[in-house]
């Protein structure tokens, strides 16, 4: 039996429900997207009483299986107007498992005059605490105050000042293994949704004592070790250990898809100044708190995260991911890792998504508010967001809003969510994935680039994108880290075996993929019911009119092809 804890944020009432279905077994996006589909009125105001926020862990959460403790968060997105699943590493999923919880649902919303609350979930039940003392503070300070009150081992989810003001690009910051709320479910504006319920922090205490009940613990240990072995032996996974996702800078530059100058180019002169090797060397040279390897959750055999230190070796930002290096670096023509790290830190403190804000700043630069390549101006824009100035609020609402206000046609987004770090005219597979995702532009949704024989052609890309939509969604479907997929992409048996050993439930690979496809169907249906049409699944017209200089390519993908890529 799996337990869902429902919390009414208006009345304080709580209720526990139990279920023993496949969706509760798998948890994660399989569960969160089904709950959103079933319980949230698609046409509702994302900030209204009818929206809900579901926090779910995955099928292997709370066990010793590497990289199995992602937290999935679902609700209706204020950024896209559609369904949203955003997930993060950290310790919250584990703490939920220790409390015997598969899902926590935040429901309803108090009146607009209600004060901020902290909701605390522990062994003794659920309590509401006054959260006014956290209001207006940055995420780093909130994080310290939460640790002070609830301990470093508590799993906390909080929002920044941007979320408190309902900015559309605000995310949810989740505790990392050190107790710092630095692991972001950043996309889709779910931080603002939690704020609309006047919840400034959700805390899952470390006093849970529920342990996994294994059918056969020794066999499970063997299966768990098998996953570690697969990860360690896979050359792709092991490369992540050294360089993290930053390795993508060189790859994207080589294939002309590194977003540059507000997505008008796919190549930047001097990109080597912000690449993985430079970052690795800088971290090693500065030493101190810097780490080229770091685990965002325990246990993890990949450890792709990092800690980027300042010149004195003190922590400046953790982690810095490729997508941020591109959207806050090359896309703004910035070639200084310290600048990117500083912007990333401010974004983490303000509680906003680095991708949507980086893209919004690109739009602002194109509008002439600053020159591309101006480091100080770029940091200044981030400070405007943190300080909630009028311009900051526009930028903190993402690139679609910024482009409308600032009069820029070349707005890099789908469904209002900024394109992540792959220039779509140079990679038609990624373009197809962006166009067909129910979440708005999302690279993790179906990562085709590594398997595109000819990235610049659209031929075969409907099928390729769909293939990787399934492969990519498998990990989300069960709460595993996306990077495990390299080791099981041709054979899910090692993970499905662990489910069998832990829960005594047999799921075949075919049945599992059918569940994944059904999730996609439900997500698209929710969006249709919410009023999203085929016309929304398009890039800005400029991507169809203007060729990317390096490849000579325009977007030539038709609505019919996108519709086919969305059909499940």
């Amino acid at each position: 039996m799996f337990t869902m804890l429902r919390i009414n944020t208006a009345t304080g009432a709580t209720v526990k429900e139990q279920a023993n279905t496949r969706e509760f077994l798998l948890g994660a996006r399989t569960l969160s997207s089904r709950l959103v589909s079933r319980e949230v009125v698609p046409a509702c105001d994302p900030f209204g009483r009818q929206n809900k926020l579901f926090f779910t862990n995955g099928v292997l959460s709370g066990t010793t299986v590497s990289s199995s403790n992602r937290l999935s968060i679902g609700g209706k997105s204020p950024l896209t107007g559609g369904i949203k699943e955003s997930n993060a590493g950290g310790i919250v999923g584990t703490r939920m498992a220790e409390q015997g919880l598969r899902c926590i649902a935040l429901e309803d919303a108090p009146g607009r005059d209600a004060g901020w609350k902290i909701i605390v979930v522990g062994k003794e039940g659920v309590t509401f605490h006054d959260g006014e003392f956290l209001a207006g503070k940055g995420v780093y300070e909130k994080s310290e105050l939460l640790v002070e009150r609830f301990g470093a081992k508590a799993g906390c989810v909080t929002i920044g000042p941007a979320g408190e003001k309902l900015l559309l690009a605000s995310g949810l910051a989740c505790s990392d293994p050190h107790g710092v709320c630095s692991r972001y479910a950043g996309r889709g504006g779910l931080g603002a949704v939690m704020a609309s319920k006047k919840v400034i922090a959700l805390v899952v205490l470390a006093d849970g004592d529920v342990k996994p009940e294994f059918v056969d613990s020794e066999v499970f240990k063997t299966g768990s070790r098998r996953i570690v072995k697969l990860l360690q032996e896979n050359p792709v996974s092991s490369l992540f250990t050294k360089y993290g996702t930053a390795a993508m800078v060189d790859i994207c530059q080589a294939v002309n898809v590194l977003p540059t100058r507000n997505f008008t180019h796919g190549w930047m002169e001097g990109a080597e100044r912000i690449n993985a090797q430079t970052m690795y060397d800088t971290i090693k040279e500065r030493g101190g708190e810097g780490r080229t390897q770091h685990a965002c959750q325990h246990p993890c055999a990949i450890q792709c995260s990092n800690v980027y230190p300042d010149k004195d070796g003190a922590l400046l930002c953790s982690p810095i991911e490729y997508e941020t290096m591109a959207l806050m670096g090359s896309n703004l023509c910035l070639k200084n890792l310290d600048t990117i790290a500083t912007m990333n830190r401010i974004a983490n403190d303000a509680g906003v998504d680095t991708l949507d804000c980086g893209a919004a700043i690109g739009v602002a630069m194109e509008a002439g508010l600053a020159e591309f390549g101006d480091d100080q101006a770029a940091i200044g824009f981030m400070e405007e967001i943190r300080n909630l100035t009028p311009l900051g609020r526009i930028l903190g609402s993402g690139c679609k809003t910024a482009a409308k206000v600032l009069g820029v046609r070349h707005a890099p987004h789908i469904l209002g969510q900024a394109l992540p770090a792959y220039e779509p005219r140079g990679t038609k597979g990624m373009a197809m994935t962006y166009l067909s995702s129910p979440m708005g532009a999302d690279h993790t949704f179906g990562f085709t680039l590594r398997d595109e024989e000819v990235p610049t052609t659209k031929e075969g890309k409907v099928n390729l994108s769909k293939k990787f939509q399934v492969i990519g969604s498998r990990m989300d479907a069960m709460g595993m880290c996306n990077f495990v997929r390299y080791s099981v992409r041709n054979d899910m048996t090692p993970l499905l075996d662990l489910i069998k050993i832990l829960h005594d439930v047999e799921i075949s690979d075919v049945e599992f993929d059918d569940i994944v496809k059904e999730t996609l169907r439900l997500e698209h249906q929710f969006n249709r019911d919410a009023g999203i049409t085929a016309l929304d699944h398009r890039f800005a017209e400029t991507f169809y009119e203007e060729a990317q200089p390096e490849t000579g390519e325009k977007i030539d993908i038709t609505d019919e092809e996108v519709a086919e890529a969305r059909r499940w």
């Binding site: 790859i251 770090a421 993790t444 590594r450």
Partner: protein, 72 residues
Amino acid sequence: MVKVSFRLSGTSAVPLSVDVPRRLDEVVHQCAIQAGVELGGYIAVRKGRVVTGETMVSGEDEIDVFPAISGG
């Protein structure tokens, strides 16, 4: 000499004498063994263009080989 560089591997470019045009995939695998690089999926780039394993390489071709990874 065809030159194959395994990017992000910490190894030097591998020169290989190719008298008659050969499939890229064969060349890359041979060079990987020579360089001691464990080869998984890869993306190969010649003169700024992605080239497939079936592409014929010869003469003075310079190939950059990247591990096929993804962002996160």
